[in-house]
Symmetry: C2
Subunit: 518 residues, 2 copies
Amino acid sequence: MEIEPATPGKARLFARGWSWLKALPARKFKKVVEAAKSIKQLGQDDPRRVIHCLKVGLALTLVSLLYYCKPLYEVFGGSGIWAVITVVLVLEFTVGATISKGLNRGFATLFAGALAIGTEHFSRLFDRKAEPIVLGVFLFLLATTSSFTRFIPRIKAKYDYGVLIFILTFTLVSVSGYRTENLLEVAYQRLSAIAIGGATCIIMSVFVSPVWAGKDLHKLTASNLEKLANYLEGFGGEYFQADPDHEEEGISTITAASNSKLDDKALLQGYKSVLNSKNTEESLASFARWEPGHGGFHFRHPWNQYLKIGALARQCAHRIEVLDGYINSDIQAPLEIRNKIRESSTKMCLESSQALRALASSIKTMTDPSAADPHVKNSETSINDLKIALESASKLENVDLLAIIPIASVASILIEITRYVERISELVHELSLLAYFKSAATSVQQEPGSGLHRGSVKPVFDDDSDRSVTIIVQATNVKIIDHQYDPSNTDLQENGIPDPAVKSDRLEERLNYILGRT
Amino acid sequence: MEIEPATPGKARLFARGWSWLKALPARKFKKVVEAAKSIKQLGQDDPRRVIHCLKVGLALTLVSLLYYCKPLYEVFGGSGIWAVITVVLVLEFTVGATISKGLNRGFATLFAGALAIGTEHFSRLFDRKAEPIVLGVFLFLLATTSSFTRFIPRIKAKYDYGVLIFILTFTLVSVSGYRTENLLEVAYQRLSAIAIGGATCIIMSVFVSPVWAGKDLHKLTASNLEKLANYLEGFGGEYFQADPDHEEEGISTITAASNSKLDDKALLQGYKSVLNSKNTEESLASFARWEPGHGGFHFRHPWNQYLKIGALARQCAHRIEVLDGYINSDIQAPLEIRNKIRESSTKMCLESSQALRALASSIKTMTDPSAADPHVKNSETSINDLKIALESASKLENVDLLAIIPIASVASILIEITRYVERISELVHELSLLAYFKSAATSVQQEPGSGLHRGSVKPVFDDDSDRSVTIIVQATNVKIIDHQYDPSNTDLQENGIPDPAVKSDRLEERLNYILGRT
């Protein structure tokens, strides 16, 4: 038997194992340090997270007083536990989520409790042996039907937690009611404990450094527009950047773009998060609807408008995603042609980007977005410039059509993006009216005799003065497109290039109404 | 005072109110009927929903026996309520979600309970007055730190519910422990009640008409590929469809496409749901990882591979979204040019579509995806045909470059989509190996002497026979691209056109290993 060669093998294995073991503490330590760093980063990225955790700890400690304080314990008894359960389950990161869960829990408990007590009384009409059967049948029917309502999209979106608590409470009360004599007293104790827990959560959430879902949605919308702007600003430089080595030969490889700094790359890739923003935006909007007025946001702030802007921003991001493919494409485009369209394309990108940036800053500061108008206009005019440049490029001799394809695609997608920026600008203008953004112009001019009460607004538009337009002028200058918005589907139904002529009478009426009030 | 005119006004108001009231029951009835219809539709769309609700009702009725049966009540007492709470909170639609929640709840309760009892014993070292203070400090620290872990992405993804239950249980036990003498007994009772509730859920979920998250993910992936295929199949017809009225004039408006049937439209728009499939896929995959083997899916089924395919399908969908803009575009393209590229584009669309359809059916039936290979090859060759057609189109006289732009963009995007289909095909081939799909060829040929144990596989490829390829041939025919896949980010990092030469040694090794086993 070959024992000899086995020993060195074993020895080697042992040596390897030993060095692995020796290195273990160092590696473990490194891992722990890395984990600690990433956790610290989580807190630094958003210090509100740390504050939220302190709030949870504080709220729990507060409601636990129901147990620790003898006088309170004498009132609530074992039911105090329901205040604790409520705090753990209801206190959420944002105010809207907390209020939504708190109200859902409160009403569901009240309703289910009442129903369960009714069922309990009904079942007592039967004899003691039949009682559990009657209760069981009721329980089965109610649990089955209520569970089914959780599949209905509208209920799932807003009241899912309420239905869950409804089933839970009904079961708890009807089941434990069978063994409890003073059911009403227990129900009263529990309900007040839940109310105390819920109130603690809502007070803690609203008054101790609140995190407003609405404000987050507002900021997210602005920052998404900024991310698109970053891309468009960088795209011109990336795509039309000429490789100095190849410039003389008239051919430039696009790999030159890969020389640019890593920081720029990260900035450019920001748009990718916009692609998947739909769920975040929708949940923030659904929480925001529960929030009371705060800061510049009143109770019925037009949150849907943010979803519309978000849907268009995503459409833009889809096009940018395709555009981005051309930066990294291995298909080479002749420098001669790229030079032809460089100026107009770069200008179009820059103007669109500046328009988006102005719109983002208008949303952020809640001021009138008219600063974006000249950029939108310029980007529109550069569409024609680009077309002329492309036409002259096609007249070049010795130019292969195949070489033009990628350039033509880039140009065509850029034109589409410009059109989308135009539509985003329209939506932000609508938002500024619906949400009473502060006006950049201080005085509201009103043409004598232009009776607003007649229900129509006369356009007062001066093409030469971009900056001195009045509020009324801006309002009538907005081209209103009715998106036939369905809140359950934020992907707008129209595609391609919009028709600015499609006007919505309904929305125009609403704008006139708002104008009449301001 | 003008009382006279007020009366007719009032009468009119009254009449209007009356007719409104009269119409009310009819309208209410109509609304109720509509709601009932949509609810019925929910059940018909997926009858598993109805079964799930019945399962919830049954499970709740079962655990309520802990209360209704006297012998059981004597064992569990009031703690039986925890079985009820567990069933309401843990029983979810899919097996994976139920198991994940059940295990999370079980382990969190066990761990938190032990910790709370330890804390309780520690606090009893202090005098009765200091005890609540010590307990409160512990509670605050633990609730704060545990809440923070819920912000850590990896914990949030898998153990969010566990952490919540951990906080809840620790608070409950430590708080009520202060007022309970026989703490250990209560803890034991509760734990067994929770175990009974959890076991009921898991048994109900796994053995009574189970809904597997993994199977749903599998089906979703296949149906997403089919939706893309539907679009590509329809696109050729939609875009290149000539308006018979305008054909003679050589110009065709694309509005002709709007004449096509509404059903087709709905089929074409199916790809839109692919755009936002990321969250659904990720949650299904995370549940699937908890599921035991079932049907063709073993415990460590390569669920990540589905996420990779899904990410590429989304990339495809982004491009289709942009493509779709051109169908509805108001920019008219001359029929002359469109005719030039019609044949090659339509062929490319059809071949890509058939490749996707073959891949989808391979996933659905879990059979070898080599039926897609000839279509992938044909779509690749039609890229060259399209380029040649475009080149000849550019040689036409009197053709304006501007007219070519949209056509060139469409062609360029179609080419990109074809490249993505190629990559999807590669990933499905990988999946077929990793998940042991049934082979289409019945016999496994092995070249004599091609030592699989040497760790390398010799390619045995016969170009003329597409159908009689052996498993080994198919495996080495797969071009492996290492996507450096990060489960927290399913958006692939590479963009643009892929380089099939980038091979991953690691994955190849794994494939060889798998091949050695089959």
